[in-house]
Amino acid sequence: MNTPARLREIRLPGVQLSGAATVAMLVAAVVVNSALQPNFWNSYALTSNFATFVPLVAIAVGQTVVVLSGGLDLSLGAQVTLASVVAVQIVDGQLDRFPLAAAAALGVGLACGALNGLVVALLRLQPIVATFATSFVFSGLALVVLPTPGGSVPLEVTTAYRDAVLGVPIALLAILVLALLWWVLRRHRLLRHIYAVGGDADAAYASLVPVTRTRVWAYVLGGLFAALSALAILANTGSGDPFVGNELTLASVAAVVIGGTALAGGRGGAGGSILGAIVLALVTNIVFFADVPTTYRQLVNGAVIILALALAGIPALQKRRPTA
């Protein structure tokens, strides 16, 4: 051991929260929220809360994959928008066209992801600004597809999204499906390569990992999860809007970090991001139900989020590397 642990850690600019810290935050948020909101556990509140979480959860999973690969996708929100307007134009209120619309949304996510992958991995543009640029392309296209808000999602879809089976909200099941998807991906060679590329691209390249292809795939997966987020949004909103997803982008990054994934890449996972997204949404609820005066609500909200992020700085909660 030539390097003391303290020095080795400085190498990692994006610190990560341990799983324990994220879970602790979630538990705290749930406890506080249910204390402040008397009907927190009744069925409407439960289903409506979960219905609120899904879009951010889905996009956060997508962002996690991209971040793990060492990138960042600032166009995910615009992809959500584009996928949702395409789907809503196709479905046109008819249930039998929903599968086609869903497939189209996934196709859009795939295509957007592929474009980002091309731009970041093949052209080697810096991800933050490159995806900032593609976000203009996607939101512009969304306006072309749906110039003004409109279109409708079949009632069956919006109703089912708000339903529960055996007391379990469908939206919660949707979150579990996202978690399951992640669990499956995690077992695939591609995800291993994504971790390797995000951890050390040069080393991965020298170790026979197809770095460029892996990076492209990371963005494609990001796009696919953005498309899932778009479907959740459609079920949640019942209609199309050419601006609907744009502001999810930055929140997805916050969810990823609260969930313990290092922005530097290579460390973390979507499990934490799912919890992180839920924590973020719950904080908004808490600030509301705590009757914080409107004027101060955004201030408190921002401060609580910074505080949550600051938990990363508490060494006891940090995942320490064993020292050799």
């Binding site: 003004t148 919006t158 050419p242 908004t284 509301f288």
Partner: protein, 334 residues
Amino acid sequence: SSNDGGGSGGSSGAADGKPYTIGLSNGFVGSEWRTQMVKGVEAAFAEYKKEGVVDELVVESADTDVNGQIQQIRNLINRDVDAIIVNPNSETALDAVFREATQQGVKVFAIDQAVTSKDVTNVVIDQAEWARISADWLAKQVGKGGNIAVVNGVAGHPANEMRWNAAKDVFAKAGVKVLTVADGNWDQATGQQVMTNLLATYPDLDGVWSQDGMAEGVFRAVQAAGRVNQIKISGEARVGFMRLWNEARADDFESIGVVNPPGGAVSALHVAVNVLEGKKFAPGKINGNTATIPIPYTVDETNFDRYWGEAGGEGNAYSLDGSLTRDEAAEYFQ
């Protein structure tokens, strides 16, 4: 009000549901107009409260997107409000959550811009009419064959489209040539920068039509180019612009300001109370699910001194305002 285990009415004690709890959902705070809107509702609400008609106003006001506004509305439903007044971030994308509200027995009123949902009562001014008034004025000023530029808000935004479609018709009918349409994002500084660019590349402008929130920037750009006397500017009924207008009047500058009232929310509050009290709309007062409230007034050369006298002391961002009185609101009902 009904309550199926989590919905509305929890706080209402009396048999008729009084006192009512009202929620206000506003998804955009980066505008003084919205602040004025919230403050107006708070003031009117205090009156009702004194009378015991209402007990609590729950305000959700933050910069957020459609998803955030859905969460706002769900929180209001979970807070057991009886009615929600909403300034919607989308014309359509709140449809499903409005249905949830209705299913939970909560009445919803949309202000500032109409939404498509049939579960909602729109209490709004006619944005098309609002645009038409100033467009008419400008068309007359520049005359047939006149060249104008347009500084719009945000492309694709429903209010923007409604306003611009109406104005476009006016200009077409009057034979006014629209040389270019640019977006100023309803933002003063952007409006100023955009107009500066347009002035440089369109030297033959006779007039400029802009949506509200940007006229001050447009004016400053024209002024900086030294062309206030050549270019007609459709203005707005806000103190910042009217101050510039007032100063330029000495040089024969004329403009127009159609009031886009933040007080529309107050009108909606009056309507909401009537609805909660079980009253039905009078025939002809509601078209589908939209109750159109009149545009309060228009500031022009003939009445400028009066309105400037009344409002000149307010801050630059103050919008001239107006709302239905309680009596006027009552006239909407049987």
